[in-house]
Amino acid sequence: MATTKKISLSEEELVNALKRQDTVAIKALYDMYSGALLGVISRIIQHTEVAEDLLQETFVKIWNSAGSYDASKGRLFTWMMNVARNLAIDKLRSKDFKNANKNQDIENNVDFIDQQKKVSFNADVLGLKDMVINLKPEFKDVLDMVYFKGYTHVEAAEELNLPLGTVKTRVRMAILELRKKFN
């Protein structure tokens, strides 16, 4: 299985395969998006094994909920990413996970503080290709909080001690920056 050729399908083909419950869709989704989805999950849940379990849950949920995906409302990846992120946030807030991870709290906080002070790279992002994204730090922090860390924009505003409008603007500016880079 691991040696077979990577499958890449167009968004439309993918959606169709998924809707008719063709398992080629899962193979293609895995090849195309497992890394991106695990990236999203890993920002919220640092524990590798738990994150990978969540990735598996994400694929199951994508498969089972394929019928509810509406292509007219957005791209497939956006939908899948929200599935992954919601699973991860639910896990983060679940009682058993909180208990199991009490010891990691400090470490996570240190990591977060370090990130804020820009003294270290996010270990999860290390090893990626040459860090093409050079967002302004104030944009990147806000974006990462709401995009990757599972914060709502309200929580992010509180956390960063910024007005809600500023957070919204920064998110928009950050994404505009990204659009310039990618599009």
Binding site: M1, A2, Q21, D22, T23, I26, K27, Y30, Y33, S34, G35, A36, L37, L38, G39, V40, S42, R43, T48, A51, E52, L55, Q56, F59, V60, W63, K73, G74, R75, F77, T78, M81, N82, R85, N86, D124, V125, L128, K129, V132, I133, L143, V146, Y147, F148, T152, H153, K168, T169, V171, R172, I175, L178, R179, K181, F182, N183
Partner: protein, 279 residues
């Protein structure tokens, strides 16, 4: 268009893509996107940007995970997708239905067989009872018939005796038992006119003889025994009254037991009754 521009710049579309809006706000964004192509285009651009950002921030799963995840779908779902293996019936045609029908028929036959065996057993019991009853009844009938014939036999004998007493032609000679057979007795009827001799089984009580012997009636005429014929046991007699040979004159009558067919001379030791003529 100013309104649309302001809407785009408010940052709500970014929050929509990031899943940060509630249901009502989402519906509002979707309505705007349907109404204004610019909003839709903006949404797509945001989505693509964030998608690329996510891909740039990808974290490679451990190598074992792919197999683990895909295996789950293989076992759970691919098997479902496989075309159903075509089942070719061993025999042509719709044998399944026939087999099912035959199976029901077999069960029905089995039940019928059990019921039949039960009925047969019950009937067999009834039949043996009936047979026993028939045997008993025919035995009773035989007894009854023999009783009737005995009664008729006795009746004819009695009628004869009554008839003889009504005329004066008949002399009755009483024969009494002798030493060896003291209880034996017998009557001999002798016609005074034509000298006929009759004996009546209804009027005799003699010791039984075996198959090889019978009774012989003798008349003593001037000291000499004259045979008047033989007669058998009551059981073998066909008529109650038997006519013996005639004798013109006699002083006495006697009965001896002789070998079947009678003897020339009486065996005196075997004499059972004797009586003198008193007339």
């Amino acid at each position: 268009m100013e309104e649309v521009k302001a809407y785009i710049e408010s940052g709500i579309l970014e929050l929509y893509v990031l899943g940060q809006l509630n249901t009502q706000e989402c519906s509002e964004v979707e309505a705007m996107a349907n109404k204004y192509p610019e909003v839709k285009a903006e949404l797509s651009a945001i989505e693509l940007a964030l998608e690329s950002y996510a891909l740039e921030n990808a974290v490679a799963p451990s190598s074992a995970l792919e197999e683990k995840i895909l295996a789950q779908f293989n076992t759970n779902t691919i098997t479902e997708k496989l075309p159903e293996p075509k089942v070719v019936p061993l025999y042509e045609g719709q044998k399944d239905g026939t087999v099912r029908t035959l199976r029901f028929a077999l069960i029905a036959c089995s039940i019928l067989l059990v019921v039949s065996l039960g009925a047969l057993f019950s009937a067999h019991n009834d039949l043996s009872q009936a047979n026993e009853q028939i045997a008993t009844l025919s035995l009773d009938k035989e007894k009854f018939a023999s009783t009737v014939s005995k009664l008729q036999f006795d009746k004819s004998g009695m009628e004869n005796r009554i008839a003889m007493t009504e005329t004066n032609e008949w002399a009755t000679v009483k024969l009494a038992g002798v030493k060896d057979s003291p209880k034996a007795k017998m009557l001999v009827y002798w016609n005074k006119n034509n000298k006929n001799i009759l004996i009546n089984y209804a009027a005799m009580d003699l010791p039984k003889t075996d198959q090889a012997h019978e009774y012989q009636l003798w008349a003593l005429v001037d000291g000499k025994p004259v045979s008047l014929g033989v007669f058998g046991n009551t059981d073998n007699a066909k008529e109650a009254v038997k006519q013996m040979e005639t004798i013109a004159k006699a002083q006495a009558f006697a009965v001896t037991i002789e070998p079947t067919g009678g003897s020339q001379n009486p065996t005196m030791e075997k004499m059972v009754v004797m009586g003198g003529v008193t007339i």
